[in-house]
């Protein structure tokens, strides 16, 4: 199956998308386009079959964020430059369950990484952050994400960190 990853377009077919997670399905169907084009709070990239290039098989959403310097614990602030810490948020990533096991998740993650490296070269960013479902933590860890402890075991997601320098090293390896 030949697939391509590109930005979400208005006439993409998302109605039948089903990753078995209502929140992720709903985001793609109801919010992804307006969040991208109208209120600009996230850009969604989709993977589509080359031969049916309007039907979305999987997607991810990226945004940038920053942590204000003064919100860090005092002991860490000393010695830091006087700037916020810029980062990229991998807000969502999902694959239609009918296309699981074909490497689409890995393909989407790779594209998210490549965009992140490119963005880090254009506007600067220090790391990628994602809130992973707990049953997906091992999958993200495989690609180098490190769990940030302290988020609370009761939460359905685990916040995870990946250093942009690690990604750049992977590109050179």
């Amino acid at each position: 199956m030949g697939v391509i990853v590109r930005r979400l377009e208005e006439d993409d077919v998302v109605e039948n998308f089903d990753c078995k997670d209502e929140a992720l399905n709903n985001y793609l169907k109801k919010h992804a386009w307006s969040n991208q084009q109208k209120i600009s709070i996230g850009v969604t990239y989709v993977v589509v079959d080359e031969l049916a290039c309007k039907t979305v098989l999987g997607y991810f959403t990226l945004a940038t964020s920053a942590i204000p310097r003064d919100s860090f614990p005092k002991k860490h602030v000393r010695g830091l430059p006087a700037y916020h810490l810029p980062l990229i948020l991998l807000a969502r990533l999902a694959v239609d369950h009918r296309f699981e096991g074909k490497g689409l998740g890995r393909l989407l993650l790779r594209e998210a990484f490549r965009i992140s490296v490119s963005v880090s070269e254009q506007v600067g960013c220090r790391c990628i952050i994602t809130d992973a479902y707990r049953h997906k933590v091992a999958w993200y860890a495989k690609y180098g994400f490190i769990p940030l402890e302290g988020g609370g075991e009761d939460k359905p997601t685990q916040r995870m960190f990946l250093d942009i320098r690690t990604l750049k090293a992977a590109l050179k390896a």
Partner: protein, 129 residues
């Protein structure tokens, strides 16, 4: 400097870089067919034309322009090439606020200030793929 050394140095600087590519049979057929259609006799000419076209496309996307094909009846199709999309200015992402607690920030800071982790094998493979 002796004359022979100068000539050798000049020859070296004038040497053109070579480009070699492994093509699948189907790609080879496509290249041959394109060369014929475009009346290009050599691979070098083909390469020069392809580079010029690609260079133009990259420059256009960098300026935020879309590359459109328009039929005689006015139907338009936008070229979407994932690699080209990477240079588009709209690839710069929007900004959102994230809520953090103190413990997460402390962990984040420890990681951000430390030497970066070595890429995992899966990450290296994914980035190569």
């Amino acid at each position: 400097m002796p004359a022979t050394v100068t000539k050798r140095a000049q020859r070296k600087s004038a040497r053109k870089p070579k480009f070699q590519a492994d093509l699948a049979p189907v790609e080879d057929r496509i290249v041959r067919s394109l060369k014929e259609e475009l009346q290009l006799s050599s691979n070098s000419d083909f390469m020069a034309e392809a580079v010029a076209l690609f260079r133009w496309a990259v420059a256009e996307r960098k300026r935020g322009h879309k590359i459109v094909s328009e039929s005689t009846t006015g139907e338009r199709e936008v070229l979407v090439l994932p690699r080209l999309e990477r240079v588009a200015p709209e690839a710069v992402l929007p900004y959102v606020n994230i809520t953090w607690n103190e413990k997460e920030l402390e962990n984040l800071m420890t990681l951000a200030l430390a030497e970066p982790a070595q890429p995992t094998e899966a990450l290296v493979r994914a980035m190569r793929g």
